[in-house]
């Protein structure tokens, strides 16, 4: 993991540098192992985003970075996933004790996004201004992206608002999934030791409960179930600013420590016991949603975020959707919610006009 100081130093070093045909101009953001710059193709003038792996990163991070490039290329036909333009390994010249030393830098060149969803929801005042129709469209965009990825045989495994990128084209905003560093090719065998999959990786506040209880699996359905949970958690984030796990489980560190103790004893907890707790938290989230979409949202969350991973993969609870592909029913439900909200908005406008006329 790079420290804040290390990241700041690398931003200074890299800003203005060229990696291949791309000149790094402004740092747009930093992650655990990487930095994202806005850059320009010096040949074509095209604006792009360049994601750079901090050179001191550990071998696991390098593997993730390389894997991301492979999977992004595989997904380049999917309009729900960020476009991979280019990438590779270029050296920059660094001076150490008066001597020039070449420093190899791994990078991906990606389509440049206008922002990410977390920017819309981290400030509660801004979040409260965010129209609910827009929030459900964002959610729908993420579902579509994950659905495309799953159809292409890839699981994202790190879904959260900060990895949902917004692409503004004219008057429309489209969502594309980014940061596939933890993504997994569902058609290839596990690439890590089995023990590495039981706890998942990354920010624990977003982790599905099976990872906190050290019960994560290494099969395609395990990865897909984690993505379903991530989608539900994204909807919770759009409503509350917090991921579902944080809302439901409180001190995630304590949960994991207990799970580690249990593991050493050869024991494991029963995730089914969390079901009622999750239902109550979902009810709390419903309080913050418009009435017209509460029922649909409740059904979506209860299914996508069931504490038992196998339950998330169950068919649609709606009879008419029982024969559609997994996640297609979620897309349909999102469409219905959007329509309901549009009807609400129309009705509000009608009432407002009526009141205006009455007042005049």
């Amino acid at each position: 993991m790079a420290s804040q100081a290390e990241r700041e130093a690398w931003v200074q070093i890299l800003t203005g540098q060229r990696l291949g045909d791309y000149e790094l101009q402004v740092c747009l953001g930093a992650g655990f192992f990487g930095l994202v710059f806005e850059a320009q193709n010096v040949v074509t003038g095209a604006r792009v985003a360049v994601k750079v792996l901090i050179p001191s990163s550990d071998p696991e991070a390098i593997l993730d970075f390389e894997n991301e490039a492979i999977l992004l290329q595989k997904l380049n036909g999917c309009d729900g996933v960020i476009t991979y333009v280019d990438g590779g390994l270029e050296s920059i010249e660094m001076v150490a004790q008066g001597v020039g030393v070449p420093m190899p830098i791994r990078f991906h060149v990606l389509a440049v996004a206008s922002g990410s969803v977390d920017e819309l929801i981290l400030d509660p005042a801004a979040r409260s201004e965010l129209d609910w129709t827009e929030r459900i469209r964002i959610f729908r965009g993420a579902v579509k992206g994950v659905h495309q990825m799953h159809l292409a045989g890839v699981a994202h495994r790190d879904l959260k608002s900060s990895n949902c990128l917004l692409m503004v084209v004219g008057s429309t905003t489209r969502l594309r999934l980014g940061d596939l560093g933890r993504a997994k090719d569902l058609r290839s065998p596990p690439t890590m030791l089995v023990g590495r999959y039981i706890q998942g990786r990354g920010d624990l506040r977003f982790a599905a409960p099976e990872f906190l209880w050290l019960q994560g699996g290494d099969t395609a359905s395990d990865f897909m179930a984690a993505d379903y949970y991530g989608l539900g958690s994204l909807l919770v984030e759009l409503a509350t600013g917090q991921p579902l796990t944080s809302l439901a489980l409180g001190n995630v560190g304590a949960v994991m420590q207990q799970a580690a103790v249990d593991l050493q004893r050869g024991q494991t907890g029963d995730l089914a016991t969390l079901n009622l707790l999750y239902r109550r938290v979902i009810a709390e989230v419903m309080d913050l949603m418009p009435k017209s979409i509460q029922h649909d949202a409740q059904v979506l969350l209860a299914n996508l975020c069931h504490p038992l991973p196998t339950e998330r993969l169950a068919r649609s609870p709606y009879h008419r959707d029982r024969h559609v592909e997994p996640l297609e029913w979620v897309l349909r439900r999102a469409d219905i919610m959007i329509r309901r909200l549009e009807i609400d908005a129309r009705e509000e406008r009608r009432i407002a006009r009526k009141l205006e006329r009455a007042a005049s």
Binding site: M1, A30, A125, I198, R201, R205, G250, A260, Q264, R265
Partner: protein, 589 residues
């Protein structure tokens, strides 16, 4: 059966902690720890699990810090507070949660509503978990919280015993789950009937709510509706088959009701579900086994419980198991009683706050010289010990000291708190009747005890004794006759009943038979029996109505008191009584 007037509680199932004691806050973390066996231990290979968890925690904190750097809001601050909490950095966590709440309060004052209610709830929870209850309450009352957030704050307050404040939050909430939380609050207050109503309502809307089913079962148990308590406990176990606390509660009730068939079936089911036995589960199995009289198997199970408690690093349970092992070995004659007392005092110095060690001690000590040490031991747990246990221990100490007045007072207190306890029932009859000569009061307890335990020999003996002394000698004779054959204690009491019925010859003959039986069994009760005989002759006024010389001739010949009579509660009780009445000591005819 023990000797006359002696409460022998060493075999009682009293020095185990009960699983039925505590209601569960809905949605709390209780019972979420592991209970099922894992097939393999994948994380034991490769890089250390602790390192991986540390990495994840570091990444969690890193992301939260970056978010706060970009937007400093209640949303990002509470996420940072949670990250600090997960890392165990309590002070930073409290400071950051407080800042998040300050922002929420400021915003709520400006806008009239809490814009970020979920962040407020999470921050208040963090303060509560850190023990900053007052600060959490202050923030909660400074904001117009509604719905689930209000309910959640009420639930947290109930869990820390701030019941009035909890009411003000819970009663004003209309959120889903309110009945469950209200039921928990009511049962915590001891308002069991109201709790039953609330919890039934909670279960109607969420039949799989294991917490509410568990709490309802506890409420039923407390009002004496035992069958309903057991069936509701069963419902709780089926709603949450992996919850150890729920399963243990159900098993505890089955043990208490001596329903060992269902107990065995449940244990078999747990085995099929791959539940790994915890120390507490082994203890319950041991209790069930001991209650069925299989002492050796019970001891083996307690030894397994001891090993499990060590593996779980649970000192309280370890103390409980160890103390019971000593007590049961002493009862079973596997170790000398004096050695058991010494080991238990040693265990007490190791685990000074363990109540069960004191309770075990109170069951095993049988000499006056132990009383002072018992007083000292009791002081270390007096403030936390439940009332019924405290009354039991104090009764035992007073009996050791020959303090009949305090022994009677504590026996009544113990019985009032645990009317279903056979030993409490015996204690109150012996202490009030024999110890204090408050025969009419003792007779009331005796009649009630007889209805509850019509076949228990100790109870029959004590009830008959008391009945004989209140002028119901015929009733006492009728009660004792079917049971007395071959039992020297019962035969002696039957002799007493005949004396009370003014059938002196028969009474004295039965006393002699009893003394002969006692001698054959090498029991040293002859001395005590002689003293009792002399006492009842005085109490019944037979010396005034019969020929004293004839009475003396028919009575048991005088026997010297045992050398250690000053150490034995059964003699001290009589000595105190004789002194108060001005009877000659040793009591003789």
């Amino acid at each position: 059966m023990s000797s006359l007037g002696q409460l022998e509680v060493i075999r009682a199932d009293k020095s185990f902690d009960s699983e039925t004691a505590g209601p569960t806050l809905p949605g709390s973390a209780q019972g979420r720890s592991g209970s099922k066996a894992r097939g393999s231990h994948p994380a034991k290979s490769g890089r250390g699990l602790d390192d991986q968890i540390s990495d994840s925690l570091a990444e969690t904190l890193d992301a939260a810090v970056r978010n706060v750097a970009s937007v400093r809001s209640s949303t990002t601050l509470v996420a940072l507070a949670a990250a600090y909490e997960a890392l165990g950095e309590a002070q930073e966590s409290i400071k950051t949660a407080t800042e998040a709440l300050d922002l929420s309060v400021t915003s709520a004052r400006a806008q009239g509503v809490v814009v970020d209610p979920v962040a407020a709830r999470l921050a208040i929870e963090i303060l509560f978990r850190a023990g900053r209850i007052d600060e959490g309450v202050l923030f909660a009352t400074s904001m117009p919280l509604v719905g689930q957030v209000r309910l959640s704050v009420g639930a947290m307050l109930a869990s820390v015993g701030r019941l009035d404040e909890a009411h003000s939050f819970i009663d004003g909430s209309d959120a889903i789950g309110r009945d469950a939380v209200r039921g928990f609050l009511q049962i915590t207050e001891g308002n069991n009937y109201a709790a039953i109503s609330s919890l039934r309502s909670a279960l109607r809307s969420a039949p799989d709510d294991a917490d509410s089913a568990l709490n309802l079962s506890i409420a039923f148990w407390r009002i004496g509706a035992k069958r309903k308590a057991i069936s509701t406990a069963l419902q709780a176990t089926r709603s949450a088959p992996g919850r150890q606390d729920v399963g243990l509660h159900y098993l505890e009730l089955l043990v208490a009701e001596a329903d060992f068939d269902r107990f065995d079936r449940e244990i078999a089911l747990l085995g099929r579900l791959d539940v790994v036995p915890s120390a507490r589960l082994y203890i319950l199995q041991a209790r069930a086994t001991l209650a069925r009289g299989d002492i050796d198997a019970g001891i083996r199970l307690l030894e397994q419980a001891s090993a499990a408690a060590k593996a779980e690093d649970d000192h309280q349970v370890l103390a409980e198991v160890q103390s019971n092992l000593i007590r049961i070995r002493a009862w079973n004659g596997k170790i000398d009683r004096e050695l058991a007392v010494s080991r238990l005092f040693s265990l007490h110095s190791q685990f000074p706050t363990s109540e069960v060690v004191i309770v075990s001690l109170a069951q095993v000590v049988n000499r006056r010289r132990h009383a002072a040490a018992m007083h000292n031991a009791l002081e270390s747990v007096r403030d936390t010990m439940v009332d019924a246990r405290l009354a039991f221990v104090e009764h035992q100490i007073a009996s050791l000291e020959g303090n009949n007045e305090v022994a009677a007072e504590k026996a009544v207190e113990w019985y009032t708190l645990e009317p279903e306890d056979l030993n409490a029932s015996i204690a109150v009859i012996v202490a009030l009747g024999i110890g204090q000569e408050r025969w009419e009061e003792a007779a009331e307890f005796a009649r009630s005890a007889l209805l509850k335990y019509p076949n228990d020999p100790s109870q029959i003996n004590n009830v008959a004794y008391v009945l004989a002394m209140v002028g119901k000698a015929e009733e006492a004779i009728e009660l004792l006759t079917p049971h007395a054959k071959g039992q020297f204690v019962l035969t002696a009491t039957l002799g007493l009943a005949y004396l009370a019925a003014n059938q002196i010859h028969t009474g004295m003959k039965l006393y002699r038979e009893a003394a002969n039986m006692a001698e054959k069994e090498k029991d040293d009760s002859r001395s005590l029996m002689t003293a009792y005989q002399a006492l009842v002759v005085h109490q019944l006024g037979l010396l005034d109505t019969s020929d004293p010389a004839a009475l003396t001739a028919m009575s048991l010949p005088p026997v010297a008191l045992p050398d250690d009579w000053r150490e034995r509660s059964e003699f001290l009780r009589l000595h105190t009584l004789a002194a108060s009445k001005g009877y000659e000591w040793p009591l003789t005819l």
